[in-house]
Each structure stands twice: as C-alpha cells, then as structure tokens.
Symmetry: C2
Subunit: 361 residues, 2 copies
C-alpha cells in the first residue's frame, strides 16, 4: 500500500520520531520546518511500503550528521540533502529511485522527506536503526552486509565530500571529522543498495510507526485517555510488539557533560511509589540503560523513553530538568535488531556497557 | 628536453628539495626511500620539461599532506599516491597523462615520483610552489585560477576521500581535518588541468633545479670549494636568479611550539662578526622572515635557508639546535611568484606578518 506524506502528517511524525529518538536523535523541530517547506514547494512525498520496493530499484539512505544543538544555531539551507544525493549519483553513475531513512528516530525522520520532495522521489517506509543511534555504522544495513561507502557529504556552502572507506567504522570516523570541519552539521547519502537488498536489511514500517505514535498520543490527549495505555496498545499491534511502563517519578538529579562530542550523563528519577529505589538512566546521546539498584529494567537496543507524566510527550536529553514528573516507557525493538549480529553492532557492549542484552519483562 | 629521473638522482634531489623546503616541507628522507623503492621496482621516471607538455595532456598535481614528524612514525605503504590518483580518475572519468608536483620543496619532491613510477607516467619539471608552503591553497595553480577540486585523498588503509569544494581554502580546511583523522598523513591528488593550463600556471624547472642544487653542493664538497659561493653562482643561472648570504653565526636561542598543527617559533642567530645585532628568523613550518633589529633581511615568499656553516647542508626546523654554526641564504623566487595575485595568496599578509613584501638587496 502506497500512501503520501503530507504537511498534515508532520506533527505526528515529529512526535513519534522524538519518542523513537529515546532522548537523542535531535529534536525533529527544525527538520519539520525543512520538510514542511519542501512539501509545500514540491508536493507530498509517496511513502513506499518496504515489501513493495521493486528488486532493481536503486535505493540510498539519507540523513544528517552532527550535534543536534548546532542544527538550531546553524540552520541548514535545505539543499544539502539533495546536493549530497546529486553528488552520490554523479560519483556512482547511478540514478536514485527511492530514499530510505537512516534513522526514523529524531531529526533524521524528516531529512529524507526534504530530499525526496525536491526530487519527487518516494521515501521507503522503513529505516536502518528502528530508533536513533549516535553513529553511522549502527545501521541494520551495516549489520546485514551493505557497505556504507560511497558516502556523500554536503554542507550549506555547497561543498561536497565523497568517502570510499574500508568499513562503516572508518566512514563514521572520517565523516565525523568532516562534519566537525563543516561547522558541526552535514547531510549524508550512503548505503546504496538495490531494492531486493533493502527489503532484506531494513527495519520495516518505521516511518508509519512514527506517524502512528504521534497520532495515538494526539488522540489520547483529545479523548482524555491514558496516553501510556494507548501507546502500549498501539505497539502491541506492531512488530515492536511489547512496551512496558518501567517507572514513574520525579527527576531528582541530572548530570550531563559533553565528552568527545557526545552528550553523556545520568538522570536519576525518584519513584512516586514510596520505598522504591530510584531509577538511574545512563545517557550517551540516547538513553542506553535504565537501572533500579542492580536490576536492569531495560537496555539498548530496546527503547527507553522518558515521557512527560501528563501528556506522554517525549523529553529529549537536553530538555530534562530537575523536578519534571515523568513516565519511563520501555519498548522492545523488532527481531531484526535483536540478532547476535545486530547486538554486536549496537548492543550494550558497543556502548561500553558491562551488562548483557536481555529483553525486559 | 626530456630526461629520466633515476635512483642516482635521488640524493641530489633530496638535498635540493630540503633547501627549497626552507626549514619545512618535511624531511625528504622517507620520501627518498619510497621513490627509490618505486623506481627500482618500476623503472626510472621521465621528467618532462614544462614547455613541452602537450596542450591536451591531462595533468594532476600530487603530494602528501600532514605533519612531517608523523611521516617518520607512520611510514606510508607507498601505494597511497597511486590510490589517490586512481580514485581521482574514477571520479572524473579522465585519465592522467602526467603528474606535476604540488611543491618541489621537502618530501613532496619525492611523492610524485612514487605515483609516476608505479603508473609509468612522466613527471613535469615544475611545481605549484617553487619551494615549500604549509597549505594547499598556496599554489600558483590556485593563484592563476585552477580549481583545487576535485581533491582525492588516500590513506594507508586504502580509504579514499573525494572533495568538491567551493574554494581552495575550503579544500585545505577539509583535507586537513581528514588528514588528521587519517592519522596525520595522507596522499593527495588535486588541481586537475590540461597541459596548456599547466604551462601557464606553474613554476617551471623546479625538479631539475632541486637536483641541480644537490649536485652543486655535492661537487663543492668534493672539490673543497665554498658551497655558498657555488650556490649563489648556480642560482644566478636559473630563473630564481638572485641568492645572497644574509647572515652567518651561531644558533643562540630557539623557541618552538606546535600551534594548531603548525611548528611555530623563532630562532635567534648570533653573528660571528662582533657588534652585529642578532638575526631573528620567524618560523611557521617554513622560515617566514629574517629580521636584524627592525630591518627585514628577507621575507616570504623569498626563500630563507638555514645551512650548516661548513657543508651548506640545509637544516630543517626540527633539527635546529643551540650552538649550531650556520649560514643564512636568501633566494629570490621567480617572477610568477612575486605578482600581486601571488603575494595575496602566499605573501607576508597570508601568514599574518605585518611587513610588506620587498625583495632583499
């Protein structure tokens, strides 16, 4: 089933992408403005179901790299994603038929729409992260054997860079250095593959999932229903399946610092229920692990989402404040993200965590 | 007249290139080993006179980027220059007919030979700096309108990067960041142009000039002649024309530090002649200006060469030591490097010096 993403979908998409961002991924707000501008100018964007992508389609992945905070200070011209794509096409001699988002979480839910609208291309209803992750090798595309290279990088001055690297990790390392020199934000096109490959290596349905999350929260608010219950019900009908409320309380302590370009820290939440030990959530851009004493409540790659207690609005790491009343929702990622190969690339060990991955109860 | 560069030329080339390096440019020693290996494996390299380059020849410039000290610790595989060239060719769809050195001073006198031998291509007897400079936009190619882009960059792991930038300054900025992430050394291919353009924008004869400098010093040593007189005589027969001994003395003080990746400092030389004020030479990788009190003895882009007093062996900045007995030779650069356009790119102001350029007496 092919549907269209219109301007009317962008608020829901932004809310859902923020939840899938699990605290990181960049606030989708600026991305939403860019996507709205592009769709108003060029028309709505066809959203192509993953299982309907033709075998021979040329697919590329697209998104932004860089510190989310910089996106607000150094607003993109909006032409970077398209420029990166043109540069990728010129380098490879191939023509792109469809764009797949790198990550459906955070601002990168929006960037593919900007490129797709301008080029009147479809966006595939899928992504390579099923959430947000901080590094470009943390993609199911990489897990299941698609080379990241060639990687095209563009900045707002019209400079482009093309990487041909020996591994996705080298691509990340070089692209990060280039992005820093480009002023902290860049647009990337990478992981070129055919449609048959895209169907095999992608997390399906994540763009419509994000829109659905936004819609569920909006409806729950309108109908004065419990948004957490609504979310749990919604996820149970998707291939994410399982979501649980793993804690509720007040932000009692928040430590944050910037280390090697990451937003690193810990947030401590005092449960409303008396006598329960506090919940500590470790952050590296995204929320990585929720601990209660020694007990692991939930751990990466599963989603740990800190939501405002009343509205279930997702709270990004930089917007966490002392005294906020929050619910913590854990969401299980789909099976394609929980294989041993996937966990080797974006499981707890990839973030230096001492805990083994285990699903939450 | 076409001649061949053989293994027998490399010692003279290394000496001459070190002198043209004016303290920087990287010790040609590692480069010499690489060039020797390449020539022994693949045969000698034709050296093509600039005025004999056919109009339609596809020319590219080639050299290494990075901190010279790192070249010694992180020895290149020797395949980087060729890899950068193949990557440039694949990107542009053009085939290279001849290689022109970026800079005849320092290690970059040797790198083009490595690429040329492996590909059995001629090297053009010319370069874009007529000496050594620290940044890739400081090229006569750039001064006279050749775009630096596309720039191909390769490392010893086989990673390649292709830049398409809006200016040579952006290319320098991005290539420098990439080189740092590549571990501090990389090989570049850039400034693609046709033969007619190369004839217009290059400093002619600089590879044979470097070999000639080395030969003159070797001969002077063998015949126990004054090497400074021999050098001055030799330069008078070239388009550099003028060389002068601007000081002789003992290294009395040397301050050096690494700032933003540059070797920055000042060396103070106490003249042997009593009552003469000390000579201060300011360094930013290369020797930039020689001052005696308020008087400018010589200034960039003219060459300021610190030579061992007895042998006239060039001393690189990192090998300067307290107590060394030295001669300071100034060499005028050719007219193509002294135009207002050229001085805007690599004259005193480009290095933040307060002095206007004037030739020495």
């Amino acid at each position: 089933m092919t549907r269209e993403i219109t301007v009317a979908d962008l608020d829901d998409l932004a809310t859902g992408a923020a939840l899938l961002g699990t605290g990181g991924g960049g606030d989708p707000y600026i991305g939403k403005l860019m996507a709205r501008g592009a769709i108003e100018r060029h028309g709505s964007v066809p959203l192509l179901a993953l299982d309907e992508v033709p075998d021979a389609f040329q697919v590329v992945s697209c998104g932004n790299m860089g510190a989310p905070t910089i996106l607000i200070e150094k607003v993109p011209s909006g032409e970077e994603p398209e420029l990166a794509m043109r540069s990728w096409e010129a380098h490879t001699g191939k023509r792109v038929d469809a764009i797949i988002p790198m990550e459906a979480g955070g601002v990168n839910s929006m960037i593919p729409l900007v490129a797709a609208a301008a080029r009147r291309l479809p966006v595939i209803d899928a992504d390579g992260m099923g959430r947000a992750f901080p590094q470009l090798e943390m993609e199911t595309f990489n897990v299941y054997g698609v080379p990241a290279s060639p990687v095209a990088i563009a900045d707002e001055h019209g400079n482009t860079v093309m990487l041909e690297t020996r591994s996705a990790a080298f691509a990340e390392w070089l692209a990060r250095g280039i992005t820093i020199r480009m002023g902290g934000q860049s647009s990337l096109v990478e992981y070129g593959m055919d449609g048959a490959t895209a169907r095999r290596v992608s997390v399906p349905g994540t763009m419509s999932l994000a829109i659905g999350i936004g819609r569920v929260l909006r409806e729950a608010r309108r109908l004065r229903r419990d948004p957490i219950e609504a979310l749990i019900g919604f996820f149970s009908g998707t291939h994410y399946q399982k979501a649980r409320l793993i804690g509720s309380g007040k932000v009692a302590d928040i430590q944050r610092s910037t280390q090697n370009g990451w937003a690193v820290g810990t947030v401590r939440i005092e449960p409303f229920a008396p006598g329960r030990p506090p919940i500590a959530i470790r952050i590296q851009n995204e929320n990585l692990v929720a601990l209660q004493g020694e007990q692991v409540l939930a751990i990466v790659p599963d989603l740990i989402c800190i939501l405002e207690a009343d509205t279930a609005e997702p709270i990004t790491t930089e917007r966490l404040r002392y005294g906020q009343r929050v619910n913590v929702l854990a969401v299980q990622v789909p099976p394609i993200m929980r294989t041993p190969e996937a966990l080797a690339v974006f499981g707890p060990a990839a973030f230096g965590l001492p805990h083994a991955y285990r699903g939450f109860d």
